[in-house]
Amino acid sequence: MHTVTITICGILLTLLAAFIQPVQAETLPDKITIESLKDLYGPVTFGHAQHIARERDCAVCHHHTNGAPASQEKCLRCHRGGHEVKSMGCKSCHEKQPFSAEQVNGKFKNNLQFHQDKPGLKASYHLSCIGCHKQKGAGPVACVDCHVLTSSGEAFYRAGKNAPDPNKAGKTGHH
């Protein structure tokens, strides 16, 4: 009886370990292609492996979500021992629509929740990337360093082939 239980436990543990291992490997992508703004810009490829090799600390971008202690002092008040989450991807916490009625109406409704001032998904990329690149003096910081305008993007920014005729300039309003 005893040996049967041990055997079953052993099999279960092996299965669990086998199940967890490949999942973790899958969630560590080498490259991430971001195309949420593909109507305005071409896809942007983020070198995840490259950043891992350079930073060696997930918390720089992923805060406390991998279980390691948080890096910033304000986070340490709650996350001294880290706080592991199921999915570490930005989109699992940072909303795609941060100003939807649901988000706006829910603000400050839960007094136990600290994270009221969480940027949306698009802003979390930009704040994180540009903020760090500026601080370190390395990496792309200007819009065009990452983004190539599509033809609808050119129409939106009135750039490229949609650029205003310089001869007409100065006809609208005062400056």
């Binding site: 304000k74 941060p98 100003f99 009625a101 706006v104 603000k107 400050f108 009221q116 001032d117 940027p119 949306g120 698009k122 802003a123 979390s124 930009h126 704040l127 540009i130 910081v141 819009c143 065009v144 305008l149 939106f156 920014y157 009135r158 750039a159 490229g160 949609n162 650029a163 205003p164 007409k168 300039a169 100065g170 006809k171 609208t172 309003g173 005062h174 400056h175």
Partner: protein, 314 residues
């Protein structure tokens, strides 16, 4: 005879004086109630602008242009050369971003209508062309506008712009918080949605005040300990956080916390009083002043009549 008129005069003076005092007391009371305490509609929306995050990409300007179907700009929206001058909002630009050099690195500042709780434009408009909607937007109705441009003078932020290209059909152009197309449908304005850096945070104004103070507290040293617009001119729907003193990045820090209407409320409250009391007061004075004269001239008239009657006698 002169005793009665003096009594009348004193009576009129006392009544007048009492009413004047009463009027001014009511006026003061009215002022205390009406200004400085109106904090906007409880469900009013706003935007918190964080200048420390802005990178001057001008995407907000492009989004505004598209959403409001504004005319083609002079330069592309990704052209950074516009930062060489300090621009203002005008009939074809409801929002503009300006660049300031304030010590460490450039600071970009987006300007647009701040959607005041007690808007100067609204209170100065004598045809009621402006409305503060329950969602917090200050909107404008060109159908009733007579083109007097008082709103342009009254606005403490120099935002309303006159469409000089159509002076015969007067139209004021300014940011309306995307009220018609977005805000009243529960959507954030186009610029907020387009901003890549979360410079613009959309929400209930009361939540944004809280959020702003928390952001200042949680990021020690990053911000000046003030939310511009929390109390300025009675509070504005759009508010600002800055890492450098506000006056260094073009903000008028001398506006005070009283709504623009308070500057003229004292004067305006005396208008009905003047109209009501002064005629009575001066009628009293006139009566007193002319009573004796009437008496005298009455005698004179009598004399004259007497004389007339007497004249044919000789």
């Amino acid at each position: 005879m002169s005793g009665i008129s003096r009594r009348k005069f004193l009576c009129a003076t006392v009544v007048g004086g009492a009413m004047t005092t009463l009027g001014s007391v009511c006026g003061k009371g009215g002022k205390a109630w009406a200004s400085g305490s109106f904090e906007g509609y409880p469900e009013g929306m706003g935007v918190l602008v964080d200048l420390t995050r802005c990178i001057g990409c001008r995407t907000c300007e492009a989004a505004c242009n598209k959403e409001q179907k504004l005319p083609e700009p002079d330069q592309p929206f990704n052209d950074q050369s516009v930062f060489n001058t300090k621009r203002r909002t005008d009939e074809s630009h409801y929002t503009v971003v300006n660049k300031y050099d304030a010590g460490q690195g450039p600071v970009y500042r987006k300007i647009q209508c701040n959607h005041c709780n007690e808007p100067g434009c609204l209170t100065s408009c004598f045809v009621n062309a402006y409305t503060k909607t329950k969602e917090g937007a200050v909107v404008y109705n060109s159908k009733v506008c007579v083109g007097c441009r008082t709103c342009m003078v009254a606005c403490p932020f120099n935002i309303p712009a006159f469409k000089y290209s159509s002076a015969t059909d007067p139209v004021i152009k300014k940011c309306i918080f995307c009220h018609e197309t977005r805000l009243k449908n529960g959507l954030p304005p186009a610029c907020v949605e387009a901003c890549p850096q979360a410079v613009l945070t959309f929400g209930y104004r009361k939540d944004l005040v809280k959020l702003g103070h928390e952001r200042i507290r949680n990021n020690a040293g990053r911000y000046v300990d003030q939310i511009y617009g929390e109390t300025e001119v009675g509070g504005t729907g759009w508010m600002y956080l800055s890492g450098v003193p506000f006056e260094q990045v073009g903000f008028d820090t001398t506006l005070g916390n009283e709504p623009i209407i308070s500057n003229v409320k004292d004067f305006l409250s005396t208008v009905p009083m003047v109209l009501a009391i002064w005629p009575a007061l001066f009628s009293g004075i006139h009566l007193l002043a002319t009573k004796g004269k009437d008496h005298g001239s009455g005698h004179g008239e009598d004399d004259h009549v007497k004389n007339e009657k007497e004249e044919p006698r000789p």
